[in-house]
Structures are given as structure tokens and as C-alpha cells.
Amino acid sequence: MPRTVRDVVFVDGVRTPFGKAGPKGVYHETRADDLVVKAIRELLRRNPGLDPKKVDEVAVAATTQIGDQGLTIGRTAGILAGLPTSVPGYSIDRMCAGALTAVTTVAGSVAFGAYDVAIAGGVEHMGRHPMGEGVDPNPRFVSEKLVDESALFMGMTAENLHDRYPTITKLRADEYAVRSQEKAAKAYANGKIQADLVPVSVRRTDPASGETGWGLVTADEPMRPGTTLENLANLKTPFRVHGRVTAGNAAGLNDGATASLIASEDFARENGLPVKMRLISYAFAGVEPEVMGYGPIPATEKALAQAGLSISDIGLFEINEAFAVQVLAFLEHYGIADDDERVNQYGGAIAFGHPLASSGVRLMTQLARQFEEQPHVRYGLTTMCVGFGMGATVIWENPHFEGDK
């Protein structure tokens, strides 16, 4: 049977504000599934043209798929969000690139013709599900030296990446982190972020954490506007004595959820849905697990090659800031300045937070806003590093591009 690959578009994306994991965090008493349910509902509310019956799939990523992130959360979240029972769903996991993989996986199905429209997103409640909860690594990893022992500790892999790029100093990483906070604060001040946030009601019963009762979260909790180099200079380097990675130049431990609508371009246009980005290519790549932060580089190489593009064609970058060093390694590799204005214009995960499997869609949502504002840009990319030595990159085209006019 002859098939035609269909164009796939990013229709819309939303997220919950991100919270700090732990007992004092805003989401401490909020279930993970409720977070993603609220994101899905906001997505549907914002796109009334989409008949929920037509949704072909709900793909929800979570790294730790137990408890309120288990039970095939893609399916349960769909039901909890009020989608008809006829809409199926599944769970997906590629650690930090979970939501990104949810997007590419449903996008592949849309291109293939299996779906017209799907919801893809992710959730991670690192307060309820700390990193490494319930893991049981095969002892052969160590006994046969398949990976270095540091591979399971993301902070250590970041230190390892500093080793690989000796020119990336702690100062450069701290400077980058300060800029991320500044850009994020500015983006907030300019209203670039709030429009894609769904407010989340949160309950607190422990007075030790603040005012009790129901509250409403409307902004990212981890933000530290006004952070200075001096603030960062003396932070501990918990992953290595005299190391370079600190809580200040890395993303924190966070809670949050994202959701996006991915559709065939024809479906979107026929149903009056917005087309915010057009998918060009996506690629995943593996690297040595102990330098997982290197992952975006080979993944981007692959994605560019598939698209027949070069790095100079990319006008906007959304790079997940798991660690400043990992962004800087990417930039260094491509000869891009640390403060290049095409990169993470609204700041990144160092400011907003990084609830693992949810972050991919945040990158896309922000890139989509930037596309809209910058019609002179034709291509952008979203990329992230992934635990156990992987990278993930998606290249997007700006449907608002006016360059040819």
C-alpha cells in the first residue's frame, strides 16, 4: 500500500508551573497524576476547536512509573482529565527526554498516518518520587565495567563533562547560570512564560512549610531572580571535592507536568487549530553514560543530517539546562558564544526547574513563542541530555517564517 508521509505540527503546549521537590515545595501534597491532568485539561480548554473524541492517543512520560506516576499514567490521566473512554493512552520513559520522546513517538505515528492528533506530555514529581526510587541496576554494569560508577549520578556525569572540556570552568558555568536567571526573570516580566502556564491549586497542611489551606501556584517556584556570581561562588560542589557543579549552576529537583498537542498539519488546519511549529526531524543518540551531558551533540548531528541542514541554519535554540556545563559543551562544540542571543532566550531549567520527564515540552512551548515573535527565523531546535548517556534533538520549522517574502 503506498503511503505518503504527512507533515506533523506542534499545535500547542502548556505546563504547570514547576515546583521545588520536597516537604517545603508547593506540590508536596499534590499528586503527580493531578499535575498532568491539569495540564491536559488546560490544553483542551485552550483549543476548543478540537473535539476530544478525535484525540487518537495520550502519551505521558514519567521516569519513575510507580504510585501516582504508574498505572499507565497516559491512560489514567486521559480518563481523569475527562477525555472519552474511547481515547487510549500509554506511558513512556526516556528519563529527562520523556516528554520529548512522547512528542516524537506520537509524531512518528501521525506521519505514518496512524493518528491525526495526539496529546504528548510528561510529568515528574521528584518530591514524591526521588531520582533513583526503586531502581535495581544490574550488577554487571559494575562488575564488567560496562559503565563507570559515576554514570548513575547525574551530578558526577556533569563533573566528568567538565573534565572533557577543560576550558569550561566553574566561573563560565556560574556566569551562564546567572544569565539564565536574568533571562528567565526578564521573560516573566515581559509575560512570555505565564501565558503557557496552567494555574494549579495546592493544599498545604503542614504549617512548618508556610500558610496552610488551599493555595494557587501561578509561577515557577524554583526561580531565583537577582542571583549574582557572588551568590554562586561559594556554593558547595556536592559531587566532587573542589568540583565545579553546584546547585546554582544546575537545575534543581523539581515537580511539574507538561502537555502538548501534536497533529498532522492537515488535521490542524481542517479543525482550525493553531500551527505553532512544523516538525522537521528528530534524532536520539547514545554516548558513554558517564558523560551523558555530551548527548545533545551527536543527537543534533544526526537530526541536522536528516534535515539536510547545518548548525548555521538554526536561528533559535532551546537547550535543556540540566547543567550549565552541558549547554556550554554543546555551544563550545558548535563554536557558539556562551551568551549567544539565539540560545535559551527566556532562560532555562537552571531558573525554571527540570522535572525530568516533563521538560521536553517546556522547551517546545518556549521555542513556539519565540518563533511567533521572530518570523525572520526559519529553523529552531530543542535538545536535551538524557540519563545513562543519551541525547535527544528535535528540529522545528517556524510556520510564521517570512524570510522568503
Binding site: 485539561r41 482529565a81 494549579v200 497542611t205 496552610t212 489551606g213 488551599w214 493555595g215 494557587l216
Partner: protein
């Protein structure tokens, strides 16, 4: 210390056991840049199984929270104030345990005034106030919201009501006054009077919105978020809340009149609460809120100090608590599993039982009868009833298929009952027939199977006496209509063992019936009392009192229907049969009315004709009546009837028919529909002095269903 605080402090001292609700104040920024907001969360610190209630300390906490936000509002620190509840519960009203403890009218006034003083502050803050009905809201919970400027409600709210009139109170923290001023008198009458008196009917979230009580309706999944987004829009002026104009003219008076006719039809003037509520609703027409609140305080206090309310609370607790934990039931761990049920007989009663068992137990139910035609008819009836449930969307197609497949009929008891764990008979009320049936069942059923009888008047012990295993026979007396009346009298025969009895109670629980343990005594509880009651009415008629006088004599009790209408419902022939049975047992107290006999012999099924729309004595019946010449007044009739009832209950308690007077009342409420304001009947007999007059003592200690001494 403010007056309100003093008031509440005094009230709190009277109620040391209060489950205290906290009023948490939390601040945050509203969406859309609408500004800083203060949200009050009402939370008693327990999960949803213990809903938030409002006692004096709780009110004081709310008062303190309002102190805080009032100041912030005045200082310009906040743009609005909201009130919501803990998960699944908004607030379910005043803590009734505290009401039961009140002994003095002035303390009762303090409860009403305390609530008003706190709640009405929500309408005088410098910023708009919002209530977010997130979950169950009743009584005072609903009323907090009524004092706010705006309300939203969750579509997931399962229960929303002003149940005060149902219990014997008025909505006295603003409900009677504010609700008609918000949604008009007619809808207010529906909520305050009609729903309350209709077995405390609850509204769902959507209905709360449709009635106009809430200004916006949001789904449960993100109710609070959407309520707050809506709040932000209202505060920014992007949403204008418009409410339909209410009819303050004739419509208001008609609504109150409609309320009075509902009250008359339900309580026949016998319980004051509905009428007091209607008086306040009527007066609320002029929109004078403070006058309304004052009237509420007085009505509330009068009612709190009334016997009707105390009896109502007693009745409510009987149904809610004793009804769920039957007195005298054996250890439930002794119960044996019931995986298949046999029904002997396939007539109407047997078929109704089969339907009930299959719906609640969802196990195979097999009907037997003496010929195939009857069996087919019985099974056909059950299948048709299941189809009706399907048509009404009460069950889905799969469930209907499942239930229908579970109900079968056979002629051969050996085939039908060989693996049954529970066999109930509903054959002709004749001891020889029943003994024969049980002997046949015993021959084929497993040794452990319970043999249950639905007899209404025969001796369970006698029925069991000829069996090899009489210890497994229990009485299982349902009330007609089986699907409607909750009562199930479980009768312990002389030789019934604990395991069989425990199994019977376990089955009753699954059937969702209110089980009461009853001794094997003639006609058990409800039929004995009703028959004595009816017998006395018939006696006075036979002796010469006109039928209308006899009927009207007991109207002030507010029973669900008049004696002769009840007898029509039961069927004169059955009534006669039961009176004959009881006459044989207690010939000095239970008479057999010759007039009733004549009516039955004439083949009459009732006493009244309804051609004119109102019941009028059937001339054919009137022609049959042979009356003496002793004409009593209504009061004399009432005294005689009540004396008889009090005497009979006193004797039943002395005989140990049930454990306590509470069980008698529970039976009358759930098996005969006797009203809450009578407390069943013994609280009323105590308060009217009948118990003292007849038996020389009260049935219940003062304070149990009455104002404590």
C-alpha cells in the same frame, strides 16, 4: 473581647467534645494579574470520612480568620476573599452533637446569633467575597457561602442541601432569609422545604448552578483553579455576574403557599419546623436581612428547645448509627458465605425478593413453585424488572445480562437448592404449609443452608420445630414495598444458632436493609404495634364514633397516612388476618372488628372512593358498618389509641421482643414511615405524658430524645 467572641466562648464551654474546624488563611496572587487574594480553607483535620462541621470553636476560628482578612482588605493588601473546604467536603453544617447538649433557650439563641455574627461579616468586607463549593455542603456550610457576594460550585458536588427542616430545625444562619433573596422564594421553598421533607433529598452541583445558587459551575478536576480564574475575571470586570430578577410580588406569596401545602401533606401540621421556616421566608420578601436573621435566631432557639427537634435528632441517629450496627447481632465473623439463594414460591412477594437478592448479592437466585407456569411467571417478572432498570439507565446492558442470567426457575427443589446457601420461603401464611415447605427444602439443601421465612405473623420456632436442624431457621420479615421500605425484622427462633443469625445479618447488610433483631413473638414489632393501633381505631368506630372523627383524631401525629388509608394499602383481608393472629395470641388486647370482617367478606378492597378527587367513605362500606352508640371526641379517641400503643410497647419491652425502646422506634421509622418528629413513637409518648400515664414510667431517659434536665 468582642461580643461575638464572648458568645462563642460561652457556647464552646457547653460543648467540650467539638471536633474543631480550622479556618486556614492562605494568600497568593490570582491569575491574570488580578491581585493578591486571601483564601480561607475550612478543614477539621480529618479525611473526607469525617466531614467538616461547625461548632462554637469552629465559628470562633472562622471569626478570627475574618478578623485577619478584614484588616488586610481595609488596608488594601488583598483584592478579594474566598472560602472553600478540604478535599471532597465544603462543610456539612452545625455539629448536631453540640445541639443535643443545649439545655437553655438563651444558649440556643447564642448558637444562632454566633453563626450569624460571624458569617455576616463576609458581606461587609471592603473587598468582594467568594465561596467555592468544592464538595458536600449542607446547612451551615451552604449558609457561609450565601453570605458571600459570589459563589461557584463543582459539578462533582454529590450532596448539597439545607436539611434543617428534615431534622426539625430551620436554616438559621441566614438560609431562610438569604436564599429567597438570592434565587426567589419559589426555588428557596424547593430547597428549604420540599427537598428537606422529601427524605432529605440532596442536590448535585449542576442543580445548585441551575437553581441560581451558584454563579458558575466548573468540573471537579480543576474546580478550584477555574473558580480562581473566574474570580480574577470578575474582579477585573471582564465577567459581569448577572442574576435573574426575582418575583417579589404575588409569586413570593404563592411560593410560600406552595411550601405550606407541601408541609401539610408531609407533616400535617404536626411538626413546627417547616412552618417556622416558611414564616421567615414569607417575611424575607421585603429584603430586610437583619430582621430575617433575628427571626432565624428565635426560630432556631425555639426549635432547639423543642421535643420535636430532639426526637428528630434521636431518630436521625437511630437510622444513621443503630440502623447500621444492629443491637444484639452476633459476631459478624460467624457469618457463612452466601453464594446461591433459593426462593420457595414464585408469586409477587417471592419475585420481589428474588429481584432484591439478585441485585444486591449478585449470586445465582433460583425460584421454585408448584407448576411450570408459576415458575415462568416469577422469573419473567424479575427479568422484566431488570429490563426496566436498564431502560431507566440504572444499570447498563452488561449488568442487565449478568443479573438476568443469575435468575432461574425450576420445578424440582432438589435441582434448584442442592447447592444453595440461603433459602427463603414466601408461600401461603399457614403454619402447616410452611412446615411442609421447610421439610422439603431440608431434604435437598446442603446441611449449612439457612432456611429463612418471610412470615409476617407465624411463629418461627414452630415452623422450625419439625426439622432435623431447626437451628438454621431465621425469620426474615420484609415490608411492602420491599424495594422502598428499609426495615428487615430478623427473627431469632428458640433454637436459631449464632452462625445462622450472623449469616442473616450479613445478608441483610448486603441487601442494604436496616436489620433489627426481634424475638419470635406474635407479629414481631411493626405489625403488632400497627395492628394494636388500628384495632383501637376500629374499636372506637365499631362502638359508634364516626369514621371521620376517628381518622382525624390521629392527624396531629403527622403519620404518613390516615389509619384507614393505611389499611387500604395493606389490604383489608391481610389486616384482618393479622388481627386474628394477634387476637389468638392476646385475646384481651387485640380484637377482631366485625365491621372489618364484613368489609372483607363483601370483597371490598378499601374504604374510600376517590371520585371527587378527595377520599370519601365508600357508600357501600358505609352501608356495611354496624356501629354502637358511644361517640367519642377526637381527643378521647387519640388518648385511647396512644394509650394502647404505649401499653403494647411497654409489654413488648417487658417480653423482650427487642432489646430496647430504640429498636421499636427504629422499626416504626424504617418499616412504617413514622415521622422523625415523633422519634418513631416512644419519644413522643414520653413527651406527651402517655408513657407515664399508662406504664408509670418513661420509655427513654430524659435527654435521650428530649431536652436534658
Amino acid at each position: 473581647m468582642s461580643t461575638t467572641a464572648e458568645l462563642l466562648k460561652g457556647a464552646a464551654e457547653l460543648f467540650p467534645g467539638e471536633v474543631v474546624t480550622q479556618a486556614h488563611v492562605r494568600h497568593f496572587d490570582l491569575p491574570l494579574g488580578a491581585g493578591r487574594f486571601a483564601l480561607i480553607t475550612l478543614d477539621n483535620g480529618h479525611d473526607h470520612t469525617k466531614p467538616t462541621t461547625l461548632g462554637p470553636q469552629s465559628l470562633a476560628n472562622i471569626d478570627a480568620a475574618i478578623d485577619q482578612v478584614e484588616k488586610e482588605a481595609a488596608d488594601g493588601g488583598i483584592v478579594g476573599v474566598g472560602v472553600t473546604g478540604k478535599p471532597f467536603v465544603f462543610a456539612v453544617g452545625a455539629d448536631l452533637k453540640g445541639v443535643e447538649l443545649l439545655k437553655r433557650h438563651e444558649d440556643a439563641v447564642a448558637i444562632g446569633k454566633g453563626g450569624h455574627d460571624v458569617f455576616k461579616r463576609l458581606s461587609t468586607l471592603a473587598v468582594p467575597t467568594f465561596a467555592y463549593y468544592n464538595g458536600a455542603a449542607m446547612g451551615g456550610g451552604v449558609e457561609i457561602g450565601l453570605h458571600c457576594a459570589y459563589r461557584t460550585v463543582s459539578a462533582a458536588v454529590p450532596a448539597f442541601s439545607l436539611p434543617e427542616v428534615f431534622l426539625g430545625l430551620v436554616p438559621g444562619w441566614g438560609g431562610c432569609t438569604l436564599l429567597p433573596n438570592l434565587i426567589g422564594a419559589d426555588k428557596a421553598v424547593t430547597v428549604v422545604i420540599e427537598n428537606s421533607l422529601n427524605q432529605n433529598k440532596q442536590l448535585k452541583g449542576g442543580q445548585v448552578y441551575d437553581l441560581g445558587i451558584a454563579d458558575a459551575l466548573f468540573e471537579g478536576a480543576d474546580f478550584l483553579e477555574q473558580s480562581l480564574v473566574w474570580t480574577a475575571s470578575v474582579l477585573k470586570g471582564e465577567i459581569a455576574v448577572e442574576r435573574p430578577a426575582i418575583d417579589r410580588g404575588e409569586g413570593w406569596d404563592q411560593a410560600v403557599a406552595r411550601g405550606r401545602s407541601i408541609a401539610d401533606s408531609k407533616v400535617h401540621g404536626a411538626a413546627p419546623a417547616a412552618y417556622r421556616a416558611l414564616d421567615i421566608i414569607a417575611a424575607a420578601k421585603d429584603g430586610d436581612l437583619q430582621a430575617g436573621f433575628d427571626a432565624e435566631d428565635q426560630a432556631l432557639a425555639d426549635l432547639i428547645m423543642s421535643g420535636e427537634l430532639r426526637a428528630g435528632l434521636y431518630a436521625f441517629n437511630l437510622v444513621q448509627k443503630r440502623g447500621k450496627r444492629p443491637a444484639g447481632a452476633p459476631d459478624k465473623n460467624l457469618a457463612r458465605p452466601v453464594t446461591k439463594v433459593g426462593v420457595v414460591g414464585a408469586g409477587l412477594m417471592a419475585s420481589q425478593l428474588a429481584l432484591l437478592f439478585v441485585r444486591r448479592l449478585e449470586v445465582p437466585v433460583v425460584l421454585t413453585d408448584i407448576d411450570q407456569e408459576r415458575v415462568d411467571k416469577g422469573v419473567g417478572y424479575v427479568h422484566a424488572e431488570i429490563d426496566k432498570l436498564l431502560l431507566k439507565d440504572r444499570i447498563n446492558r452488561d449488568k442487565a445480562n449478568r443479573l438476568k442470567a443469575l435468575v432461574t426457575g425450576v420445578l424440582d427443589k432438589a435441582e434448584g437448592f442442592a447447592d444453595a446457601d440461603f433459602v427463603i420461603e414466601a408461600v401461603f401464611e399457614e403454619i402447616g404449609v410452611k412446615q411442609q415447605v421447610f421439610a422439603e427444602v431440608e431434604a435437598v439443601a446442603p446441611a449449612h443452608a439457612i432456611l429463612a421465612t418471610n412470615t409476617s405473623s407465624l411463629s418461627v420456632s414452630e415452623m422450625a420445630s419439625k426439622l432435623r436442624h431447626p437451628e438454621r431457621v431465621v425469620g426474615f420479615h420484609f415490608f411492602n414495598p420491599v424495594a422502598v421500605l428499609p426495615l428487615l425484622e430478623i427473627v431469632r427462633g428458640e433454637r436459631t444458632d449464632d452462625a445462622s443469625l450472623a449469616t442473616a445479618f450479613a445478608v441483610a447488610r448486603k441487601l442494604k436493609k436496616t436489620a433489627v433483631l426481634v424475638k419470635d413473638a406474635p407479629a414481631f414489632v411493626v405489625n403488632r404495634i400497627l395492628t394494636r393501633f388500628m384495632g383501637e381505631i376500629q374499636n372506637v368506630i365499631d362502638e359508634g364514633t364516626p369514621v371521620e372523627v376517628a381518622e382525624k383524631a390521629v392527624e396531629p401525629l403527622g403519620l404518613p397516612m390516615s389509619p384507614l388509608v393505611l389499611l387500604e394499602l395493606v389490604g383489608p383481608a391481610i389486616g384482618l388476618h393479622v388481627s386474628e393472629t394477634l387476637h389468638r395470641a392476646f385475646p384481651d388486647r387485640f380484637t377482631v372488628s366485625p365491621n372489618l370482617k364484613a368489609v372483607v367478606e363483601a370483597g371490598k378492597r378499601g374504604f374510600y372512593v376517590y371520585d371527587s378527587g378527595k377520599p370519601e367513605l365508600d357508600p357501600e362500606v358505609a352501608a356495611l358498618l354496624k356501629q354502637g352508640d358511644t361517640v367519642l371526641t377526637e381527643e378521647q379517641v387519640r388518648d385511647r389509641v396512644l394509650d394502647a400503643v404505649a401499653q403494647e410497647i411497654g409489654l413488648m419491652l417487658a417480653e423482650g421482643v427487642v432489646a430496647e425502646a430504640q429498636d421499636i422506634d427504629l422499626c416504626l421509622i424504617t418499616g412504617a414511615g413514622w415521622p422523625f418528629h415523633l422519634g418513631g413513637v416512644t419519644p413522643y409518648l414520653d413527651r406527651a405524658g402517655v408513657a407515664e400515664r399508662v406504664n408509670g414510667k418513661r420509655f427513654l431517659e430524659p435527654g435521650v430524645a428530649s431536652v436534658p434536665a
